[in-house]
């Protein structure tokens, strides 16, 4: 199982999902119409590191974060 967190203004509770790749995760998350909008401009981190490709294997216990546009300070 992979834990998916939705940060900041997305305002969605974390999910535990049984997926093996980011591609699979993409399919599932895009089914949620509200989330779909956020995915257009959100970055994705796996275990606190931003990823640049969907060819990332996920293993049991990995943490995925969906990161909408930021503005600190």
């Amino acid at each position: 199982m992979v834990r998916v967190e939705f940060l900041g203004p997305i305002g969605k509770e974390p999910m535990e999902i049984d997926v093996k790749t980011l591609k699979e995760l993409k399919e599932i998350l895009n089914k949620d119409e509200n989330l779909k909008e956020w995915l257009k401009n959100s970055a994705v981190a796996v275990n606190e590191k931003i990823v640049s490709s969907l060819d990332v294997k996920l293993k049991d216990g990995d943490r995925v974060a969906i990161l909408p546009p930021v503005c600190g300070g």
């Binding site: 967190e5 940060l7 900041g8 203004p9 980011l22 995760l25 993409k26 998350l29 895009n30 779909k36 995915l39 257009k40 401009n41 959100s42 970055a43 994705v44 981190a45 606190e48 590191k49 931003i50 990823v51 640049s52 490709s53 969907l54 974060a65 969906i66 990161l67 909408p68 546009p69 930021v70 503005c71 600190g72 300070g73």
Partner: protein, 144 residues
Amino acid sequence: MVEVFKGGIPVIDTLQRWYEEFKLEGYGAMIPFIGIVRPDNKIDGLSFDLYLPMLNEWFKKWENLPDAKIMMAHSFGDVMVGETSFLCAVFTKHRREGFKYLEEFVEDFKANAPIWKYDLINGKRIFAKDRAKELKNAGILKEE
């Protein structure tokens, strides 16, 4: 590690602590940056969410510079007008590296720190979408 505070940062206490810690370490310049919440857009204040594990991960590359020391604090939750939500300080031997590092650090922070800002208006918390910037590789999960 980034120092985090619920609500406004205790600016003076924090600066004092950092100053006392490093004033005898051979740094000739201490350059802080104090980000104060401005009374703009009729806001009562701002509010922040942090993703702390990634914030600390991001900060690591600034914590171990060979020729500078950088300290940083940020608020989470509500910060009222006139209070401070972001505080940092760069310590260097000479002033010129200090100016350079401060600017580079703050620009990197603005572009890459996993922090989300909201306006507080009439008791409501409204995402500051117009001021937010996409992180690198944003949109990777977008449906074609």
